[in-house]
């Protein structure tokens, strides 16, 4: 926006051309955005999407929290109370009881072996099976999944939990059980 001022000085007209800039300075805004962008790019992990919290599963709580290995090749197995989903795409596998079925058990081994085979040879050590299971499930189902994972050569098996540093002080046995 410009404004032209005209003033008289001793009978001589002097046209004073003053530029008044009212533009918004976006330099500082750009600085802030750059910082946010760098921060987000540094923290964003595609693996986090694979092992994010899913609704429908009540996670167990733990005090401790472990860092997942660097650059993992994650294969999640989600065990709900009524169904089991496998892989990043969440393929429907069956019900938890199906894990005890010999045919389905073999199918799961085959699936995980295929997932393991897809991992590049130099990243085999980073193969990572993440078990996301409901806290109310019995351990026999977890045992089956861990057993299949180890048979498919997954060297790293993690259990997804919710971190709660005070669970021990607030633990009530009757609430935790079925």
């Amino acid at each position: 926006m410009s404004r032209k001022n005209t003033r008289s000085s001793g009978g001589r007209k002097v046209r004073n051309k003053t530029e008044v800039s009212a533009e918004l300075s976006i330099t500082s805004l750009l600085d802030v955005l750059t910082i946010i962008l760098v921060f987000l790019i540094k923290n964003v992990s595609m693996e986090a999407v694979k092992i994010s919290e899913v609704s429908g599963i009540q996670y167990p709580t733990t005090i401790s929290k472990e860092e997942i290995i660097k650059n993992p090749e994650v294969v999640p197995v989600k065990i709900y109370l009524d169904r089991v989903e496998i892989g990043v795409d969440g393929l429907f596998f069956g019900t938890p009881n199906d894990l005890g079925d010999t045919k389905k058990y073999d199918d799961l081994i085959l699936f995980l072996e295929n997932e393991y085979a897809k991992i590049p040879p130099d990243k085999k050590d980073q193969a990572c099976l993440v078990v996301q299971a409901d806290a109310s499930l019995q351990c026999k189902y977890i045992t089956q999944v861990v057993s299949v994972g180890t048979r498919a050569d997954f060297a790293n098996i993690y259990f997804a939990t919710i971190q709660d540093e005070d669970w021990l002080s607030s633990y009530r046995p009757n609430l935790a059980r079925n």
């Binding site: 472990e66 351990c139 098996i157 997804a160 669970w167």
Partner: protein, 172 residues
């Protein structure tokens, strides 16, 4: 009377003065990228706890636990959740390297995790150089209780937790 008028060269100078870079395209790019990144950010309290497996012969599950006659020297914690004719009791049991056992029954219908923590800390005090422990879990134990047990093991300094299931042995 002559009218004052800036020279042609001055006029040109003001036209070719320093210009600020055009930041609008950069802003547009940022405004596009930032919501996209924010959408991908997952903010949750999700944590992970890992298992450790024996490299020689252990398959992580079903590999045993040292049942009657087991020769492995390891610190164990056994989780029972069945009260039947086999004589299993409801609760947990700790075994040190000498197979000295201590049993802790259920309290208020659940595992006594306060006692478990104390027992694990006691075991750690007795065996400060040991960092591995075997968690032997019976099939009906709830996953929640397994994870809490592994968690307390790690909190007590037993960072290498082996996940095992009980071995059934038959004698003829």
């Amino acid at each position: 009377m002559a009218v004052y008028r800036p020279s042609q060269s001055r006029q040109q100078k003001s036209e070719t003065g320093p210009r600020e870079p055009n930041l609008v395209p950069i802003m547009n790019l940022f405004i596009t990228i930032i919501p996209f990144l924010l959408m991908m950010v997952v903010i949750s309290q999700a944590a992970l706890i890992g298992l450790n497996f024996e490299t020689a012969g252990g398959d992580g599950s079903g590999s045993g636990g040292s049942g009657p006659g087991g020769g492995d020297r390891q610190i164990e914690i056994r989780l029972y959740d069945r009260d039947d004719a086999t004589g299993l009791f409801l609760g947990f049991e700790t075994r040190d390297l000498d197979k000295k056992s201590a049993k802790y029954p259920y309290i208020n219908g659940g595992f006594d995790f306060i006692s478990m923590q104390a027992a694990l800390e006691q075991l750690k005090t007795e065996h400060p150089d040991r960092v591995d422990i075997a968690v032997i879990v019976y099939p009906e134990v709830l996953y929640d209780n397994l994870i809490r047990t592994i968690d307390l093991c790690k909190q007590s300094g037993f960072v290498n937790v082996k996940y095992m299931t009980p071995r059934t042995m038959y004698y003829y």
